[in-house]
Every structure is written in C-alpha cells, then in structure tokens.
C-alpha cells in the first residue's frame, strides 16, 4: 500500500471493547475509511463519544484494531519508523508534573536520541513557537490548562514531525486560548506539515480545515472539503424583509417560509432555500409591496451536522 501523498489512511477500521463482567461487546468504531493527504489540515469531527479518541489511539498504536487496517506514511500502524515522523498530543494530556518545561521537553528529546546543543536549540525554538519561553523553569504542575496544551504541542513537535495528530486540542480552553491554538495549527500548515485533529466544536474546524470527516456513534456520515460539504449538504437559507404586505399574501408566504416574523408593517421571512426566492419576488410584485432587503445566509457545518443527525436512524439521534 504505497501512496505517494497519502499520509494517513484507514480501511474498514473497527474497534469493539469488552465491558463489564460478562465481556459484553461495545462497538466504539465501525468501519472507518479515511485518507489524509500531504500538507492538509484534516478535521475529524463528531460529538463526544463518537469514537474519535478510539480512532486516534489506534492510529498511535495505543490500542489494537478489532478489524480493518490503517497506514501512516504508507506503512502499517505500529511501525517504529513511521512513528519517528509523527507528533501526537493526547486529549487533556497528562504529563510528569514534577518536571519543568525545559526538563519535560528534554525528556521527549532524549526519546528521539536528540542531545546536547542541537536539542537545546530545538527546545528554545519550540518554547518560542508556542509562546512558553517564560515557563522554561516552571514545574508543569503549576501550569494552567492552556499552558499544558501549548507545552504538549511543543512536545509533539520535538522531532520536527511531518504529521501532527492532535486529539481535541481546543477543548477546555477559553476563546483566546482557542484562537492561539488555531493560529498555531495554521502556522504548522504553512511550514508544510500535515495536521490531523479531532474536535467536537465544528466552528473551529470550519475556520481551519481543508477537509473534514464527520462521525456519529462510531459511523462515518460525511467526508470531504468543508465548502463542498456545506454547499451540497445544506441548502442556503435566504432572509427577506418586505414592507406593506396584505394578510392574504402573508398567509401564502407562511406556506413557503420556514419562519415569518411580523413587525409593524414589515415582515421578516426566512426561506429554506434559494429556490423560493423567485416566487416570493412575484408575490411582492403582485401585492405592490416593497422589498426592503434580501440576504442569502451561508450554511455552516453545524447545520450539516444537525441535518445528518436528523437523517440518521432514531438510535443515532441520542448521540447528540
């Protein structure tokens, strides 16, 4: 399975856990097919419990797939050589909290065989990159959540990896912290790295990702470019404001629109898609009313997501 530009690939990846005394099987992930390409930012999205962490743990060699396969850099997962080209930040990471920022990065550097001046220089660069130079001699147990996340990213970058895998890098951070992580991810992309991150916050993904995959209860429900997914999946709604409509036209409008809000002589109408715009304009002309404004609304991943959930079987609905 050699793919020149395929950095991360899975085929039918599946994981079941045995739980409880009787070893009841729980399927956390059901047949995942991903293909992450060189240089892209790939968002792996889904609500809590969807199976994101389970997937990432399999890719990182922490747990073994029940069936299916996965490759990193064209090699089967677990291969030591591909791990050398990889950086990983776990979900709410835990580290040896008695180490200082510097000692912490030294430890991980040593695991890659980095030493001496070269390692010192690398650590300086990384602390600078994640804005943590001031915490070089501070013990990790005195770090805030955001600081841990940043030093965790520095740890993931110690070997100058080609692929960076981040599990929920923005969760638990305040808006400023989230923005900092987003900027950092974009900077990594600029320097040519491939980034794969999971998130349950769709807004983050929309701003960052070239492509995304969405999973629900262990099942993949969508995958593709963010813009395409939004265009295809979500009809663009349109907001129209009209002045001077009679009660008869208003009743007809109500049948076409998602929502009609009357305010004095003006009406705000939300149309489910662009298709209804023509008939609304005709209606306005016929009633000799005035068109005040017409605003197309851009869809979001959030809309797509909610629609996907609605489309799926009722059992999936409880996932959200």
């Amino acid at each position: 399975m050699e793919h020149s530009d395929s950095i991360l690939k899975t085929a039918g990846l599946r994981k079941t856990f045995k739980v409880g005394f009787w070893g009841r099987s729980v399927t956390a992930l059901e047949g995942l097919d991903l293909d992450v390409r060189q240089g892209e930012v790939f968002g792996f999205l889904g609500p809590n419990g969807a199976g994101k962490t389970t997937t990432i743990k399999m890719l990182m060699g922490l747990i073994y797939p029940t069936s299916g396969q996965a490759w990193l850099f064209g090699r089967p997962i677990g291969d030591q050589e591909s791990k050398a080209r990889l950086g990983f930040l776990p979900e709410s990471p835990y580290f040896y909290d008695y180490l200082t920022g510097l000692e912490f990065l030294q430890f991980y550097g040593h695991l890659f065989g980095l030493r001496g001046v070269a390692l010192g220089k690398r650590i300086d660069e990384l602390l600078e990159l994640v804005g943590m130079s001031h915490a070089r001699h501070l013990q990790l147990r005195k770090f805030s959540k955001g600081m841990l996340q940043r030093v965790g990213i520095a740890q993931a970058l110690i070997n100058d990896p080609e692929l960076v895998v981040l599990d929920e890098p923005m969760s638990g951070l305040d808006p400023v912290g989230r923005k900092e992580i987003r900027d950092l991810i974009l900077r990594l992309k600029e320097s040519g790295k491939t980034i794969f991150f999971s998130s349950h916050i769709l807004h983050d993904a929309e701003l960052l990702c070239d492509r995304v995959a969405i999973i629900l209860k262990g099942r993949q429900v969508a995958c593709g470019r963010v813009s395409e997914l939004i265009d295809e999946g979500v009809a663009h709604s349109v907001e129209v404001v009209i002045d001077g409509l009679g009660p008869e036209e208003l009743a007809r409008l109500r049948q076409m629109a998602d929502r009609v809000i009357v305010q004095g002589s003006q009406v705000l109408v939300v149309l489910p898609s662009r298709q209804q715009v023509g008939s609304v304009l005709e209606l306005i002309r016929g009633a000799r009313a005035t068109l005040v404004s017409l605003t197309p609304q851009k869809g979001s991943l959030e809309d797509l997501f909610i629609r996907e959930v609605k489309n799926k079987q009722p059992e999936l609905r409880e996932a959200v």
Binding site: F17, K57, I63, A84, Y108, L111, N159
Partner: protein
Amino acid sequence: MRILSIAVNTFRENLREKLLYNLLFFALLMIGSSILLSRITLGDYHRLILDLGLASINLFGVLIAIFVGIGLVSKEVDRKTIYTIVSKPIPRYEFLLGKYCGLVITLFANTIVMVVGLLIVLQVMDVPITSLVFKSLALIFLELMVITAVAVLFSTFTSATLSAIFTLAVYMIGHLSGDLKEFSKKLDEVSQMVVNAIYYTLPNLERFNLKGHVIHHLDFGMADMALTLAYGLTYAAFLLLLASIVFQRRDFQ
C-alpha cells in the same frame, strides 16, 4: 540510551515518593534498634545484630520494591502519561525495561543507605564484618531484583492493589518453597502435582538467603555465588520477557 532516559526519569519520580522515605526510616530504626536489643540480651549478641540487620534490609527492600514497583506501570497507564511515550518510536518493551531499571536504581540507592546503617551498627558494636556479610547483601539485592520483576509483571495486567497482593504472596511462598517440597510428600498424588508445579514455577527465594551462613560462619564459595547469581538473573530476565509479551499485547484504555 532511551532505556536510560526512562530509567533516570523513573528514578527521579521514585525519589518524590514519600512512602519511600517512611520505609527507609523504619528500616534504619530497626537496624539501629538491634543496639538496644543487644544490651538486654544475654549471650551471642553478634548473631542478633546480624540477623536483625540483614532481615530488616531484606524486608524493607522488598516492601519498597513492591509498593513503589506496583505503581510503576499502572500509574503511567492510569494517568495516561504513557500515551505520549508509546506514540514515540520506542518499542513497548524498552519502556518497560526503562521503568524496571529505574526502580532497580532506586532500590540500589536505598539498599546502600540501609547497608551503611548496618555497617555503622556493626562497627559500633564491634561485630566483625566478614566477606560473607557482603555476599549476603549482594544476594539480598539480587532477590530484590527478582521481586521487582515479579511486581512489574503483575502490574502490566492487574491493578496496583492486586499486584501488591500477588507479589507479596510470591515473596512469601518463594521463601517457603523448600518446606513446600517436604510438605507435598505427605499429600495425595494430584495435590502433590499441584504443589510441585508451584514449587518449580515460583522462584526459590531461600537460595538468596545467606543469613544462616553469616551467623554460623559457613562458607559460601565463589562457584555457589556465581550459580545463584545466574539463577536470579535468569529468573528476572524470564519474568521481564513475560511482562514484555503481556505489555505488548495490551490496549491502553
């Protein structure tokens, strides 16, 4: 090199364990108390001091090995610190060996402290310090290495509490295994097989016990020493191999 990094880090982590200092304190207290005991004992106080001193080092060494050793791996898994390590290009067995070596370094440092305590007591009480004392101490340390390997093996697949119980059980049965063989002769055939199976799989820890030799001035030659050393190291290596296999197959959940 990577094993060494993990070992050094483990050692540093162990040094932060308060339990370690408590155990060390009690060990020194017991070794020192032999001075008082010898004052109120008639007759051969040399024997008492040596017996108590060596036994204390053995017991407290084992307690340190068990109570620091069982958390070695399970704590890394529970606290998820292992996630970032296993995702690096380090085979799992190297991680395990690093943890083991780190604990052995910890035990070595602790044993040195206890030995210094014992030597001071022996010096103060005018007890002759023979080469047998050192041979006995070396074998006590070897036993600790075996017990640590047992603790690491258990901690790769059970909780810290269960590992502690199992390891203590192995320690106690390991010292009784000579008696076990005698005892089995009185049993019916099936029970005999079971008891024999235990006898041959568990380590015979009495082999590492030279207290009798030290007290009765019995010689323990270099050949015996080499044989015992080979036995202990082979046994520990076998346990670590087993632990590596278990650890390799494990899901970190």
